[in-house]
């Protein structure tokens, strides 16, 4: 008699268990099938149309050694679905006969525009007094790393600028 009562309960629990397994299992599949593409959609960078663009920024022969010049040029920027032509600035310095560099115009601390102090021959950021040497290294102040540099190449005496890359290295 005891057995007769037990059996339906036992089969009842297993049917319940079967239902629950399916319910949780199917919902997990649906959740995963929606969440995985959503994460890819949000987190992966879009396929970049990298137009390898080199911009003629300055005449190298006209540069004086170790005297930075601010140059302004126009550059196409791909911003999502838009390609905008923007004004960009670079500080161009001829460090030696063999090396000419172009710094990005923003302080590496918090992005303020710095300027060249001719008297002290240093780059000075007015926001928090970061000071950079003519080669972009941090002299003093809170800036965490040297000035960022554009990729450069020289063709027929013209300085061509590529993309702006973050500088690596510490204050030194």
């Amino acid at each position: 008699m005891g057995q007769a009562v037990d059996t339906p309960i036992a089969s009842g629990t297993s049917r319940r268990g079967f239902y629950l397994t399916f319910i949780y299992g199917l919902w997990s599949l649906i959740g995963a099938a929606l969440a995985a593409p959503a994460l890819l959609y949000l987190l992966l960078p879009p396929k970049v149309r990298r137009e390898s663009e080199w911009i003629d920024a300055a005449d190298v022969t006209a540069l004086q050694p170790k005297i930075p010049v601010e140059v302004v040029f126009r550059k196409n920027r791909v911003d999502g679905w838009k390609i905008t032509s923007e004004k960009e600035t670079a500080w161009v310095v001829k460090l030696s006969d063999r090396e000419t560099v172009a710094f990005g115009p923003q302080c590496t601390h918090l992005g303020c525009a710095y300027h060249w102090d001719e008297a002290k021959t240093e780059f000075l950021c007015p926001c928090h007094n970061s000071v950079f040497g003519v080669d972009g290294t941090v002299v003093s102040g809170p800036a965490p790393r040297p000035l960022d540099r554009y990729e450069t190449k020289i063709e027929n005496g013209k300085l061509l600028l590529g993309p702006l890359g973050a500088s690596s290295g510490s204050k030194a």
Partner: protein, 506 residues
């Protein structure tokens, strides 16, 4: 069961809709480009749009099935009248999503479909002018209409839907799920886990169908909305086709009957079903009248939709271009396009890679290290003479054709190689005809050719297709003094060359 699936689909729509909105700019100036960006550049963007597009269609199907079931079972009867009526409003809201969402891609299809919608609204007696103003269509569909449709689609309708669903579900819980007639005496099945299990299985099946549709069936994007395109024949989304067809039955002053009066009466009838049929609950097998109504409605809907589909003209060739794909080929010169044609015809791709891809037996044709055109032509004729041991078969084309192929290969790089896949066949064939007939000796396309005759970019703005066809047959009849020789094209050739000229960028 269908109710749960409908709720699930609504939540999925909200989810995919929000994700799309993260990369979508809701203004006519940017909507189209941002959608192309989602489709072509954002990872899984095509899948998201597919889910949203097909989810909308499935939602209509499921909601209609849900209503049909409730109707057949007589689930609208006392005390469930309000549940039914809220359900009818939810159906209307679902249709409103379809109507407003249709405009948002801002391609030709969206634009012209909405032009028709707003003009139908304008026909409404008394209310017409106010409705038009409400829809922002002050005589035309523009930025204001777009903003209103977008606002309705994402700001107004979702909370309204949530509220209505809450009322609907509350009423269902309050009065209980309508028992299947004849089953009233049996104890109700437990909601959890039995009913939940059944719903879950149904939802899962619906989701699998939706996912497969989104992955497998491409949702096309037409060209950017062009209000000056007089040749475009608008068609509504499939679930509105029956209304579209109804409209054709009524002409002249009676048109308002088809566009406004009948739909309004139908909605009212649907809304007041519980008060029209006040009989007691009966077994579904005894509800012959209700069954007949459903059958008639299905036949009517199916017949009208089929008639609308049957009378849809074959879309013009140019409308078959999928603008959700890269369209760099539009910038190619006719010589290059013809080169694409020979490249495909000779099946060069079976042995050569272009740009990235698995290395194949032959060299990558998009990589650097160029040979000269004359070297290539010699090589095409006798491959092993130029490259000892080459396994390449010689190409059987005329010198002029080989020249075209060489000209194309000289310009091939990884960036423009996508044209090999994406250039539609009609345009390639059109360019081949253009090349063969040496149109470039007098005309210019994409900056290549001679300026003796008029440049052919933008010809679609200046002339109709018919004019161009007639002009091909007898140039002097339409342009007196023209030195252009008449052309004898076969009908297929004529169609291709004209279609090619009409897709050229302005």
């Amino acid at each position: 069961m269908f109710g749960s699936v409908a709720l699930f689909l609504f939540l999925t729509q909200a989810f995919t809709g929000a994700l799309l909105a993260f990369n979508y700019a809701p203004t006519p100036g940017d909507a189209y480009n941002s959608l192309r960006y989602i489709l072509a550049e954002v990872t899984a963007g095509r899948l998201m749009r597919g889910l949203h597009h097909w989810g909308a269609s499935m939602m209509i199907v499921i909601v209609v099935l849900h209503m049909t079931q409730a109707f057949l079972y007589g689930a609208y009867k006392k005390p469930r009248e309000a549940t039914w009526m809220v359900g009818v409003v939810l159906l209307l809201v679902t249709l409103a999503y379809g109507l407003t969402g249709y405009l948002l891609p801002w391609d030709n299809r969206a634009y012209w479909g909405t032009v028709v919608t707003t003009q139908i609204a304008a026909q409404a007696p008394v209310l017409g002018p106010y409705l038009v103003r409400l829809l922002g269509g002050q005589g035309e569909v523009g930025v204001v209409t777009f903003a209103r449709f977008y606002g309705m689609h994402v700001l107004l309708l979702p909370p309204a839907t949530l509220l209505l669903i809450a009322i609907h579900v509350y009423l269902v819980r309050k009065h209980g799920v309508a028992p299947e007639p004849g089953d009233e005496a049996r104890p109700q099945k437990k909601f959890f886990p039995e009913q939940v299990f059944r719903d879950t299985v149904a939802i899962f099946i619906a989701f699998v169908i939706l996912f497969v549709l989104a992955v497998a069936v491409r949702v096309p994007l037409e060209q950017l909305a062009d209000p000056t395109d007089t040749a475009y024949i608008p068609r509504p989304e499939w679930y509105f086709l029956f209304l579209f067809q109804t409209l054709k039955v009524f002409e002249g002053p009676l048109e308002v009957v088809g566009s406004i009066v009948l739909p309004t009466l139908a909605i009212l009838a649907l809304l007041f079903v519980p008060f029209i049929d006040r009989g007691r609950m009966r077994k579904v097998t005894q509800r012959t009248f209700a069954g007949a109504v459903v059958l008639l409605a299905a036949i009517g809907w199916g017949g009208l939709t089929a008639a609308a589909v049957a009378t849809t003209p074959k879309p013009a060739i140019a409308e078959q271009i999928d603008f959700s794909q890269p369209t760099g080929w539009l910038q190619l010169s006719p010589v290059e396009m013809a080169g694409v044609g020979y490249f495909r015809q000779e099946n060069c791709i079976s042995c050569h890679t272009v740009g990235d891809g698995k290395p194949k037996i032959g060299p990558d044709l998009a990589a650097g290290s160029r040979k000269s055109a004359s070297w290539m032509i010699q090589h095409f004729k006798r491959p092993s003479a130029m490259v000892p041991g080459s396994a390449m078969p010689s190409i059987q084309l005329s010198d002029a054709e080989l020249n075209t192929l060489a000209a194309y290969l000289l310009k091939l790089n990884p960036r423009n190689a996508e044209a090999l896949q994406s250039a539609p066949d009609f345009a390639v064939q059109g360019a081949l005809i253009y090349q063969k007939n040496q149109c470039g000796a007098c005309h210019m396309v994409n900056g290549v050719g001679v300026k003796l005759g008029p440049a052919l970019n933008g010809v679609k703005q200046r002339r109709t297709k018919q004019w161009v066809e007639d002009h091909f047959r007898n140039p002097q009849a339409l342009s007196p003094g023209s030195i252009m020789p008449p052309s004898r094209f076969s009908p297929t050739e004529m169609e291709r060359i004209v279609a090619y000229l009409f897709v050229l960028p302005d």
